[in-house]
């Protein structure tokens, strides 16, 4: 096995955005069981070092493929379409306007300590993301339209960030 093989090859999963997550979990556990440092607690230094490196590698592959955003970003980078958020901030203005409105709504709900309002926002963003990811699946797996997929992934990065902020606001209200 090549240590530098891509994540899909390493976990023997088909290289696609749509993924059988139960199978991914199973493959990860099987591989982790073989290389985990706990299996080498009594081994020599060389084997323990190798085990640490391999287990780290296997965890990285699994974590990348598990979450849809990182999986999409990774697929794009394999296809030579790096999603470089820093150099590609030119998003359409109506999208940015909408993002600002979302953000204001979160800030207002946080200020007014409206936990149920935050929960609703959370739900709406989730719904939006679900549709977007379905779109990305089509663009990546069926149409191989990487430039458009990269654009949609950048929008999803905004939404993920927004979701994180909503959760953060809910946590702050709990405290």
């Amino acid at each position: 096995m090549d240590f530098n093989a891509d994540h899909f090859t390493l976990l023997e999963m088909p290289r696609s955005f749509r993924i059988d997550s139960a199978l991914l979990d199973k493959r990860y556990r099987e591989l982790a069981a073989q290389v985990h440092p706990d299996k080498f607690a009594q081994a020599g230094d060389a084997e323990r070092r190798l085990s640490l490196q391999w287990a780290t590698r296997v965890n990285e592959a699994y974590q990348t493929l598990k979450k849809p955003l990182s999986r999409a970003q990774y697929l794009l980078s394999l296809a030579g379409h790096e999603v470089d958020a820093n150099n590609n901030t030119a998003m359409p203005s109506e999208f940015l306007m909408e993002q600002m409105e979302w953000r204001e709504a979160v800030a207002e709900a946080r200020l007014a300590r409206e936990q149920s309002e935050l929960e609703q926002l959370h739900h709406r963003v989730k719904q939006r993301m679900k549709r977007r990811y379905e779109q990305v699946a089509g663009l990546l797996d069926d149409q191989q339209d990487y430039p458009t997929a990269a654009d949609r992934v950048r929008r999803l990065m905004f939404l993920e960030k927004l979701l994180f902020e909503i959760d953060d606001a809910m946590a702050a209200l709990d405290a």
Binding site: R27, A41, G44, E47, L52, A55, A171
Partner: protein, 633 residues
């Protein structure tokens, strides 16, 4: 418990010699040592049959010390020299220690970690913990009749890197080989999960003497997977004692107390807390040195009221951990209660109310962590067959990051990442001709460096002078299976590479540990040289067994010539291990390691290929729907 369909041919066939390994729960209030005997995890009691060892050490002017009940008796008589709850001081500077003004000790505010002035000399918290661990090691060795190959030591899941490193140093100082640092709630989950065949999402609520942990785990056949963890590393039963103590002062209208009187009342407070677990009212009476007399009654209602904020403080991290795991309360199948402080009725009530179910109390909350650690130690020592095995996937509790411009934190590894984990980040210079870069490593969730815990600082030097912004410096964080961090930095441009590796040592240098090791030897029956020789011999034996077992299953990976070289190196190591030169043994170990390095790589490769072979067999056996997807690559 079967994990893999494929049984490794070499491993299950060979009858293993049972290796002596223990699990140690190094607690704030009490510590325990446990082992697996004839397949059963058991706590090893002292010669009087007492399973717990109070985590209390009494130091004397002649350099001798007592640990446990004997030390506890002296606590109120000599509070300055009798150290209790030392776990709260591990890896901590004075300013980090909550409520240190109320502690009776004579602190020395040494950067990194405090020191304690005692009549027996200046002690670091690591040395005090080592004295507790040494007592447990000696207890185990006497009971098991031989030297230990190693120990699994438990730490609160919410311990940061400094606290973990300090615990590992203490074990080393006590002459223990650390097989693994294991998170306390994870250890409890192992004990509970294996004994009850539990599957599904479980929460472990662990309120100890001085620390609080919450872990959310997914238990499935042969796999313990931590999804999220949280807690408060300075919140525990001690704080409830403190609340009662304050209530006594107020209710009895006492004048400022002497250290001795305060210590006596704190003991009375603890006794009242324990009494209230089974009774509705606890009498508190004491005659102080000042001549004042305390005669009070503490009811459950009052206790619940004065401790309400403490209980609420544990629910916050529970909510956060659930959110981090992406789960709701209704998805939690069971809540395992761990730690003596969970006996308090108001804690049971609050946890039951939050999770909307009765907490699980069918394991002894004092022993479950040590028992789980013993099971893991037994596994790591290689005492279990390949088909009676489990996989533990744990996480880091706190985000690791670096200081960047303006005192901001650049997060490198987020909290709740499965370990082992590594992450690299590239940085650049901001001045023309800059030849050095200061790297400051922090841990915590806040945006500002000043709000996070500083773990280590180092400088990368020898960067070739370049225009600002053109150097490429890659900083790599690696967290191992103990949850310990190592950081390295490299400059990548123009073919020049500068590299430095740091293992942050949190206030204790390697030199300091070496000298403490020497000092501690002087006060015990151990002869330092003999101990070192014995350790080298144990290392040699461990390596010989590892290589022999590797050869048994995989010698076909080697050519006849390679095999002969390895066998010659084994024979040489065996011969030197019989002698009494530590240097020769170490050299022979290094030689055998060198000659088997490539072999190790080939074996790892074979293991990984075997994981895939296992899947194909599953696929043939009928998991048609899922396996079909995996066929085309």
């Amino acid at each position: 418990m079967a994990l893999l369909q494929i049984v490794e041919p070499g491993e299950s066939a060979a009858p293993h010699q049972h290796k002596l390994a223990v699990g140690i729960d190094l607690g704030t209030t009490n510590s325990l040592v446990a082992t697996v005997r004839s397949g059963l995890a058991v706590v090893i009691s002292d010669e009087l049959g007492r399973p717990l060892l109070p985590s209390v050490v009494a130091y004397h002017a002649d350099g001798s010390y007592e640990v446990g009940y004997e030390a506890q008796v002296r606590q109120t008589l000599d509070p300055r020299n009798v150290i209790a709850s030392v776990k709260r001081l591990m890896g901590r500077g004075l300013k980090d220690i909550v409520n240190h003004e109320a502690m009776p000790y004579d602190f020395d505010d040494v950067p990194g970690m405090v020191r304690l002035h005692t009549t027996g000399g200046v002690k670091s918290p690591v040395a005090v913990s080592a004295d507790i661990l040494r007592t447990l090691r000696e207890r185990a060795e006497a009971s098991l009749g031989g030297a230990l190959v190693g120990a699994v030591i438990t730490v609160p899941a919410y311990f940061d890197d400094s606290q973990r490193q300090a615990t590992k140093d203490a074990a080393r100082l006590a002459g223990l080989t650390v097989l693994r640092l294991l998170n306390e709630p994870t250890a409890a989950a192992i004990a509970y999960g294996l004994d009850n065949g539990a599957e599904g999402i479980y929460a472990v609520y662990d309120l100890g003497g001085g620390t609080f942990d919450i872990s959310i785990l997914k238990l499935s056949k042969g796999v313990f997977e931590v999804l999220a963890t949280g807690g408060d590393s300075s919140l525990g039963g001690d704080d409830f004692d403190q609340r009662i103590f304050c209530w006594i002062l107020e209710a009895a209208k006492l004048k400022p107390l002497s250290i001795e009187d305060a210590s006596l009342l704190l003991t009375r407070a603890r006794e009242a807390k324990e009494y209230l677990t089974l009774h509705g009212v606890a009498p508190i009476s004491a005659r102080l040195n000042s001549g004042e007399v305390v005669d009070l009654k503490l009811t459950t209602e009052i206790f619940t009221e004065i401790s309400q904020t403490l209980v609420a403080k544990t629910i916050q991290p529970v909510k956060k951990a659930l959110r981090d795991a992406g789960l709701s309360v209704s998805e939690v199948k069971g809540v395992v209660m761990v730690g003596g402080a969970t006996r308090m009725p108001q804690v049971q009530h609050a946890v039951g109310e939050f999770f909307r179910q009765e907490p699980l109390n069918n394991l002894d909350p004092d022993k479950v962590v040590a028992l789980g650690a013993a099971k893991q130690a037994n596994l790591l020592a290689g005492n279990r067959a390949a088909d009676d095995d489990w996989l533990l996937l744990d996480v880091i509790p706190l985000t690791l990051g670096l200081e960047t411009m303006g005192g901001l934190v650049e997060k490198i590894i987020p909290r709740n990442s499965t370990i082992p984990v590594a992450r690299a980040q590239e940085f650049t210079t901001f001045r023309d001709g800059q030849t050095a870069l200061a790297v400051h490593i922090v841990q915590g969730e806040r945006e500002l460096v000043s709000d996070c815990r500083s773990l280590a600082r180092f400088e990368l030097r020898g960067i070739p002078p370049m225009v600002a912004g053109s150097a490429r410096i890659r900083v790599t964080f690696q967290v191992d299976a103990d949850g310990l961090l190592a950081v390295s930095a490299r400059e990548l441009t123009s073919g020049v590479e500068a590299k430095i590796s740091v293992k942050p040592s949190y206030g204790l240098t390697d030199g300091e540990i070496a000298s403490m090791l020497k000092d501690s030897m002087a006060h015990t029956k151990d002869d330092a040289q003999r101990r070192a020789l014995k350790e080298a011999q144990v290392d040699a034996q461990r390596l010989i067994e590892a290589v022999q077992s590797a050869l048994k299953s995989d010698s076909d990976l080697l050519s006849a010539e390679q095999l002969a070289r390895v066998e010659a190196a084994i024979a040489a190591l065996q011969a030197s291990a019989l002698g009494d030169s530590r240097r020769q043994i170490t050299q022979a170990i290094d030689d055998l390691e060198a000659k088997t390095r490539d072999f190790a790589a080939q074996r790892m490769d074979k293991s990984i290929r075997r994981a895939f072979a296992g899947k194909r067999i599953d696929a043939l056996e009928g998991a048609a729907s899922a396996a079909g997807v995996g066929e085309h690559r």
